[in-house]
Symmetry: C2
Subunit: 267 residues, 2 copies
Amino acid sequence: MDIKTLDRGNLTPAESRQIFRAERYKGVTAGWSLGYAQCNMVILPKDLAFDFMVFCQRNKKACPVLAVTEPGNPEPADLAKGADVRVDLPRYKVYKKGELIDEPNNIEKYWRDDLVTFLLGCSFSFEEALLRAGVPVRHIDINKSCPVYETSIECERAGIFEGPVVVSMRPIPAELVPKAVTITSRYPYVHGAPLHIGDPEAIGIKDFYHPEWGDPPNMKEGDVPVYWHCGVTPQAVVMRAKPDFVITHYPSHMFITDKLNESLSIL
Amino acid sequence: MDIKTLDRGNLTPAESRQIFRAERYKGVTAGWSLGYAQCNMVILPKDLAFDFMVFCQRNKKACPVLAVTEPGNPEPADLAKGADVRVDLPRYKVYKKGELIDEPNNIEKYWRDDLVTFLLGCSFSFEEALLRAGVPVRHIDINKSCPVYETSIECERAGIFEGPVVVSMRPIPAELVPKAVTITSRYPYVHGAPLHIGDPEAIGIKDFYHPEWGDPPNMKEGDVPVYWHCGVTPQAVVMRAKPDFVITHYPSHMFITDKLNESLSIL
């Protein structure tokens, strides 16, 4: 089996995870096991896990928790029986006291009995729903990343965790904006309905054409900018808190679950 | 001001809470501050709070967490600025090692610096939406409580917390069942869409006409039984776990928030 000619989109989630586990592929997970939900990941010591979970509850549109593991247990059984978060993602980031110390392809040597894993919903899930409904997703059209901005809106603080709400922006043709709102509102566990539509300054975005993360916006004539809560929010908040120890997924190198995106809708 | 002639439904939530705080009224909260969300409450020591929160995440349709306070802080500021969970409910239940030790009208003497308060969404919120849409709610028509049943479905366990899913049942005219499903699906933070429609045996209900909690069903000709996840689930699970210390609201004596029911919808 040659990884390059593999039909990645049609692999089951378990097959994809197995390939990452064997370190036969170490790249981004976009396009793998299409239709299945991918997750952002934050791993924290148990003594910080409660405060982080309260932070996620208070900011649930930005930080939709899809699963939490017991301390030391690397299997998020609710989302993927038999999976192992230590080896099933293609790449990780490991931080000590706020400093990046490693970007490994597995985290077995860093594992501890007190580590709690949080898996968080991701906008990939609602982008699939938009595309299926005929709403274009401009950054996917040109094979780029979504522009992501810091706003002037503060998250609700919990313990040491605080920071600004971070949003992703998708240019939507004006006549499709109501449809984009309605569709994404059905997915409250993957950020839900947009936070804002239109003027970037109204939410404190400093430079629309130079986002803090991702690629510059690909606006077409007649497009309106639409902003959703973004999974970068919890990552940015954790980095700012500089906990003694934290592991996250490497950006775009996500955990692939056994849950269909559609199973995360309200219906 | 005479409590008996008071227009309870039109009081602001802060006014209602003030009356309970002054212990001028000690009864059920149904009918007070209409339109505003009322919450179930569980107060636990911090050392159990993380496991309980994970339990709620894993069983989020039964246990929708609307707010969690910092240990020792009695103000659930996200839901009601200035409120105090120690005095703002009409009545409480206090348990030690699983045994009921008191049913007081305030819990000031039981308060501790390590207590964490969970406020959980309640079906009152979606019942209002059903009524506004012309879907009858049969137990309200006859001024009784909703029948509530234990099912044979197990919750996802977390730490010491485990037990069966508990459901509430509302008889719905057959032609209105799709409408009842659609409306409640818009309220994922107050139990959301039904768990089951029809045959009670399919979900392990033992005796349809003798529910474990609440009053017997008020079925009319042409009604179909519709079952929703119920806020009794977390209460029953906590009781079963027999923690060293726990305080809950007294049944039907709820915490009234400053949030409109409609603000808990996805739209």
